[in-house]
Symmetry: C2
Subunit: 227 residues, 2 copies
DNA sequence: ATTCGATGCATGATGCATCATAATGCCGCA
DNA sequence: TGCGGCATTATGATGCATCATGCATCGAAT
């Protein structure tokens, strides 16, 4: 009943479209950390001129989803352990806040939507489709902040996820199960409209999920530096 | 002893320079909410072509420091009460986290730097220079997150302040005293390396400072809508 | 006859493409 | 391993076509 979804209005200009395409690519892990992106190359592949690609890249750099290592060298950033930990701590705070607020004001329809996501996630996991499971997990987290009615917070989260995208795709893309079990306590809290419990639950989820990623960072970082 | 200030490394390309110029202008309140910006106009005034201005505007839009009301209508956003409250809540969480960490690991030199800022702020206030006082207050908040060693958080904060910039400049630019008194409990907590106390102090500061701004939003918003 | 509303046109600003240039990455060599 | 040259690549400028905004004129109703 909240009117139309205004966020879909962005598809007017080419630059915005390319930006979204690149966002999805980063989230999906189509680019790996330390990969180099070339504007002309992308323009050729997309069949456009360099201008809109330039626009999209610039926006991604502003999001820190890409970095300009030098004025002519655009790369996917390699998160250091310290940076990843910082992002994790920020998420613990922000998503905790969002989960609490979402729990307090969640409608039955919203609760059902979250449950549906969990169910689809389970199915994807059972089918061994880890890529889909990871994506559904991500959507779940975004939905929570959406239901908290905090668009600014949601945007910050989107950016943080964009920065982590290549890394977590690298970690969970290969093997391992997604951490869906931790979401059920959160659902219980939301159903009970218990804000603090919801915050604790999602915070525990984030911290637990960071384990495999931290292991991976330690293992992958020196090797990547050698390349 | 923490090396150079890496944020100044951006001055390589024209677009980055213009971006920073526009950021300062927004912070200083050179643009008012609902002002319209024209790319060609700015390009003429800066003596460059439209390309770097375009880049800068695009980055500002990505920061949500500007909005594209229509594809050819770039404006300074008018914060709604809800959006301002959301930003305030996010700041309460994030700056609380940063203040706690800064308190725990602050060096004597850093403590002295903060005290110096407070002193200069007092002087500016005594001289009736509210613009400078507001700017110093802002620098104080940024320094806290810098000393917390959280660059990602600092960047998020910078963006939030960029969004609020025109509004608070509008409120505090005219008259009224800056809320410097609330910073002294924070300094006490930092000197004592008491993280939780520092968090509480800065949170109280943010909440108290939001009072005049909220009053102003209520007063200014219907009037602006009528225009 | 006057005022309100609608349609059409002109102005103006932006998005995208193309071009020139200067700086850099990469590769090979000492 | 360190350095130099070449090809490459981003940056900045310019031009054109498109589209929205605003104004003026025209028509109709009271």
């Amino acid at each position: 009943m909240s009117g139309f979804d205004l966020t879909l209005l962005e598809h007017d200009n080419l630059g915005g479209t390319i930006y979204q395409k690149l966002c999805e690519a980063l989230m999906k892990g189509a680019f790996k950390p330390n990969d180099r992106l070339k504007i002309r190359d992308l323009a050729d592949r997309l069949g456009t001129s360099v201008t809109p690609v330039r626009d999209a890249i610039l926006r991604l750099v502003q999001d820190q989803a890409l970095v300009l290592r030098s004025p002519r060298d655009i790369r996917v950033p390699m998160l250091t352990r310290a940076t990843y930990l910082e992002i994790r701590d920020i998420r613990v705070n922000l998503e905790g806040l969002a989960a609490a607020r979402a729990a307090e004001q969640a409608t039955p329809a919203q609760i059902e939507a979250l449950e549906s996501l969990l169910k689809r996630n389970e199915e994807a996991m059972a089918a061994g489709n880890t890529a889909l499971a990871t994506e559904l997990n991500q959507i779940f987290h975004f939905k929570v902040s959406e239901f908290a009615d905090m668009p600014v917070l949601g945007d910050i989260l989107r950016r943080l996820w964009l920065q982590m995208g290549p890394l977590i795709a690298d970690v969970y893309g290969g093997a391992g199960r997604t951490m869906i079990d931790h979401h059920y306590p959160l659902m219980d809290a939301i159903r009970g409209h218990d804000g603090p419990a919801a915050a604790s639950a999602i915070q525990a989820d984030i911290l637990l999920a960071s384990g495999p990623i931290l292991e991976r960072i330690d293992g992958v970082h020196p090797e990547a530096l050698a390349v």
